[in-house]
Symmetry: C2
Subunit: 326 residues, 2 copies
């Protein structure tokens, strides 16, 4: 198995590692649950062992690409994932570079990797100017402009979740008021609906089905339940989807007008709601993209499933001319 | 005079042409008033004659850079400036290319040229990730990311004036509601203050002084008068500046969070209000850029004066590796 890249996807619920071929195909993959409450050493050992389990045969590794929850220093790759308190300024890139000397080891934000994956091999193929979004327990994204990943000054470009959509609105995890994420992330939407009398599951019960729904690991049960109830016609769940769609529409419009985008892809648990989310999103986007150039922008569901993070991480190495600037 | 570039700045009130040297220095300049209500032929003759008046000595023109009001097709350079009805789909680039065969002729949005000028030779020097804004009769801008001008899919990146800052707010010229431009452009602010009882000039009279204040040609008397009255302590004029500053702060925060910017430059008539505008702008920006990476972004006044448009237009040719992608 020569000429492949090791891809690593570090999330709050799951670690995944894979060997990825030149065209982005997953050759072999291993997953494990993130050790809850693990300290820095435990988390590293879990990852290190998972890589051992993947590399049971000799493999020529040409490079390592990593997607990890933020914040992090970039391109240094010292990570402090919000939902993994055991890693604070953990030198993830350096540790992987020790294990894989002589090849590039590149770490980027997990939402950025999802956007890269959609651009490289998913719903964004052929677009030169797109925003790839993920709407789940948080709202993140990545920007591709002029056919290249935009990093911004500190590797943090794409934080569309912190565009203000409701001035004076609910407080966000970041401390500001009225961010898109504060309104449209699954738990916030569920709380909003509960506060108005929503009875979760009264329309239809969410039974985990064991199937690998796209990004399912990042979706909250409450957000999924809300989407299911909305699909079953629950009035409050529908109102919550409308609220999320309108908030997303305002933030997407800001990105389209500011960056002259062709395309926006939306993935993550909440996007599973389909037209119930995309209809109000597109209506609001249409109201706020009235100039000729902005009208062409389309919003589509993300196309890749649970392997998207791995594909995007691999692209940091396999398609570096487009996705790695440093 | 060998090795210089012809720069052209086409505005609703004024045409300017200049010979610009390699470092962005203006070697010679000619200006004339835009013929009011001029048809396509009259407008072209005015520009053509102005170039004649500039090129009285033989000059080796290495290229032509043009800034013009939008909209336009890009990079084709067929222009339809909103405030010059005589030009609709006028082939400005093609006509200049006929006059200057064999050298590059490049046309871009006037607000983009101002941003390029600030990045190349003004307040944005050294920043790799900036938004250059102009707040005047309209609100426009240009984006530089990773050290390069971002064009977007149709040459329209930088339209920060159409980020929504007041959902359900006033109707914008573009047809949408609550755009930054609908709130913060000079005439909108003046109308807002007048509707609340502002008596223009009761605090201090705006006497045109003939001095070349930066971007003065683009500022409206009403916006300038508002700034003067605010400086003199007029309560309603101050409230208008506060309103503009807060709206600008929300849109700038969206750009900073989405694009991970180091710097935002603000020019145009309204920026003459100084601290009265920048204080509420910075306060609002601070409230909405709470993540570590976003806190570093600074907002500064544009540094270049009335020649900025010419300097930016020249840079499309003189510094093409950074400012011309096509």
């Amino acid at each position: 198995m020569s000429g492949s890249v090791l891809a690593v996807d570090i999330g709050g619920t799951k670690f995944a590692v894979a060997l990825v071929g030149r065209e982005g195909e997953i050759l072999r993959v291993r997953r494990t649950a993130t050790p809850p409450g693990g300290d820095a050493h435990t988390l590293w050992r879990t990852l290190d062992s998972l890589i051992d389990a993947l590399l049971t045969e000799p493999a020529e590794i040409e490079g390592v690409g990593v997607g990890c929850g933020g914040p992090m220093t970039w391109p240094e790759g010292e990570v402090s994932p919000i939902n993994m308190p055991g890693w604070r300024a953990f030198p993830l890139r350096a540790r992987l570079a020790e294990r894989f000397p002589g090849v590039p080891v590149r770490v980027h934000n997990d939402a950025v990797c999802l956007a890269v994956a959609e651009h490289w091999r998913g719903a964004g193929r052929g677009s030169e100017n797109m925003l790839g979004m993920v709407v789940s327990t948080g709202v993140g994204g990545g920007l591709v402009l002029g056919g290249r990943l935009i990093d911004g000054g500190s590797g943090n470009a794409g934080h569309v979740g912190h565009v203000v959509v409701e001035p004076g609105g609910p407080v966000c995890g970041c401390g500001a008021r009225g961010c898109l994420e504060a309104v449209a992330r699954g738990p916030a939407l569920a709380a909003w609906a509960l506060g108005r009398g929503w009875q979760p599951g009264s329309a239809v019960r969410d039974v985990p089905d064991g199937e690998a729904a796209p990004y399912v690991e990042a979706a909250t049960a409450s957000g999924r339940q809300l989407a299911l109830d909305a699909a079953a016609g629950d009035r409050l769940a529908l109102a919550a989807m409308d609220r999320a769609g309108r908030a997303l529409g305002l933030a997407v419009a800001a990105a389209v007008n500011l960056c002259d985008l062709d395309l926006v892809t939306v993935g993550g648990g909440l996007s599973q709601a389909g037209r119930l989310l995309f209809d109000p999103l597109e209506a609001t986007l249409g109201e706020h993209t009235r100039m000729g150039f902005a009208r062409r922008a389309r919003v589509v569901p993300a196309a890749l499933g649970q392997d998207a993070g791995l594909v995007g991480a691999a692209a940091l190495v396999l398609a570096e001319s487009r996705y790695w600037s440093h």
